[in-house]
């Protein structure tokens, strides 16, 4: 007999993944954006491999950040509009687990595909060989941080009809440490230094955001619903 287990985290993770699966075009748009704009760089700036290889890691990181940020807007807005966010707020459970489930789904749909295609883009931008592994490792941890921080912004702007630009203003300062250490990880790798150092700091950031962001989001969502 098929039974439903609705323990917050998995229920929302599965539901959000299923929703993305039903609207693949929309779900894939951050990835398409990421690949498209990165492809434009050699065309717009220079196709010279020597100059590209200097910028490659930075370019990939900046566009990964933008792609994640643009998609964060939809994290709670759909649920807010159709009333399921209200149902979540009055459900007899701790808000943190469903919120974490939704963010995990967001990372699986946005961050993970970005990480997986990043070596291809690295190849296109002549990223030095030593940079591939650090790039993927830093993007895997970094995009998870970006999803969590973006969700805080999405929760803050959920009740606004056009929260897009405000969301960017809110989360941009929070994104800065992530891109600094993400870019540094790749650069250390290319320079032959121990790149696990900055990566460890990214890991620490992820640990902190996993612990704190869902709490902040739960609080913010309660506040927005009250008005």
């Amino acid at each position: 007999m098929k039974k439903y287990a609705n323990n917050g985290f998995y229920a929302y993770l599965r539901r959000d993944l299923r929703l993305s699966h039903r609207r693949l075009g929309e779900a894939a748009s951050p990835l398409i954006f990421f690949v498209m704009v990165t492809t434009l760089v050699p065309l717009g700036i220079t196709p010279d491999p020597a100059s590209l290889s200097v910028m490659a890691s930075g370019i990939i990181w900046v566009f990964a950040l933008l792609a994640t940020m643009l998609s964060a807007n939809g994290l709670f807005s759909g649920d807010y509009q159709d009333g399921s966010l209200e149902q979540l707020l009055i459900s007899p459970q701790v808000l943190v687990m469903p919120v974490l489930g939704k963010i995990t789904a967001h990372w699986l749909v946005v961050g993970l595909p970005l990480t997986i295609v990043s070596p291809l883009l690295g190849l296109m931008l002549s990223l030095p060989e030593a940079g591939y592994l650090p790039l993927m490792a830093s993007l895997a941890l970094g995009t998870a941080c970006l999803s969590l921080l973006g969700a805080v912004g999405a929760a803050l702007t959920v009740s606004l009809q056009k929260g897009g630009i405000l969301l960017a203003l809110v989360v941009m300062p929070l994104y800065m440490p992530v891109i600094i250490f993400g870019g540094a990880t790749v650069q250390y790798g290319i320079d032959g230094l121990a790149w696990t150092g900055p990566l460890a700091i990214l890991g620490a950031m992820l640990a902190a955001t996993v612990a704190l962001c869902p709490l902040a989001i739960a609080g913010v969502l309660r506040l927005t619903s009250i008005n």
Binding site: M1, K3, Y4, N7, A11, R15, R22, E86, Q87, I90
Partner: protein, 213 residues
């Protein structure tokens, strides 16, 4: 003084932009009650219901659940209520069965979900995405939650929107069965309910009224 009522409202007041939207001196809801909230558009019916579901915080006053303030027994209270609002929380890209499954309480099995959908006239529509259903059918998907929930208190905000005559009868029967098995219903609607023993509670925005016997 007998047992405390299931839900009691005391001196509840809610303001929006310095205007009183809801003002309710006293209101009791006992087991077996069907309470119909009536009033013109904009008189605060939905706001009252959202205050009762804790989606909104009152400015003054309190809501008691079995004699205890709901702030003290929040989780207990929330697991005993079911709210179906204007926005039905139905995800259009999910099927009826999937919609009901993620909103339903834990431990529910597949056959009872199907049974609930079938008794609301959705047999044969359970596995197609809800955007292909009509407005009334989408409403029925939301209302199917009533049949799979074990909450005693139902808060229904305009449940008859887009529902046909047979559906209205069906819903009235559900309410009767629910209250006779130890539940209570608060429903806001403009229709006349064909149910015996409905208590009426008129809301008129800021003016205060009593509805306790």
């Amino acid at each position: 003084m007998g047992n405390p009522s299931l839900v009691t409202i005391e001196n509840l007041r809610f303001e929006r932009d310095d205007t009183t939207v809801v003002s309710c001196d006293q209101l009791c809801l006992d087991v077996g009650d069907i309470l119909q909230i009536e009033g013109p558009n904009g008189s605060g019916k939905t706001t009252l219901l959202r205050l009762l579901t804790t989606a909104l915080q009152p400015l003054e006053g309190s809501i008691l659940y079995c004699g205890k303030s709901i702030a003290e027994c929040r989780l207990e209270y929330l697991s005993d209520i079911l709210f179906i609002g204007h926005q039905s929380a139905v995800k259009l890209t999910l099927t009826a069965e999937e919609n009901l499954a993620w909103m339903a309480p834990s431990g529910l099995d597949f056959s009872s979900v199907l049974k609930a959908l079938e008794s609301l006239g959705l047999a044969g529509y359970t596995d197609i995405p809800c955007y292909k259903l009509s407005a009334g059918q989408q409403r029925r998907v939301a209302l199917a939650r009533l049949l799979v929930s074990d909450a005693r208190i139902w808060y229904l905000d305009e449940p008859f929107t887009a529902i046909d005559r047979d559906g209205v009868k069906l819903l009235e029967r559900c309410m009767k069965e629910h209250v006779s098995s130890g539940g209570a219903v608060v429903v806001s609607t403009h229709q006349n309910l064909d149910v015996q023993g409905v208590r009426h509670y008129p809301v008129l925005g800021g003016s205060s009224l009593r509805a306790c016997p």
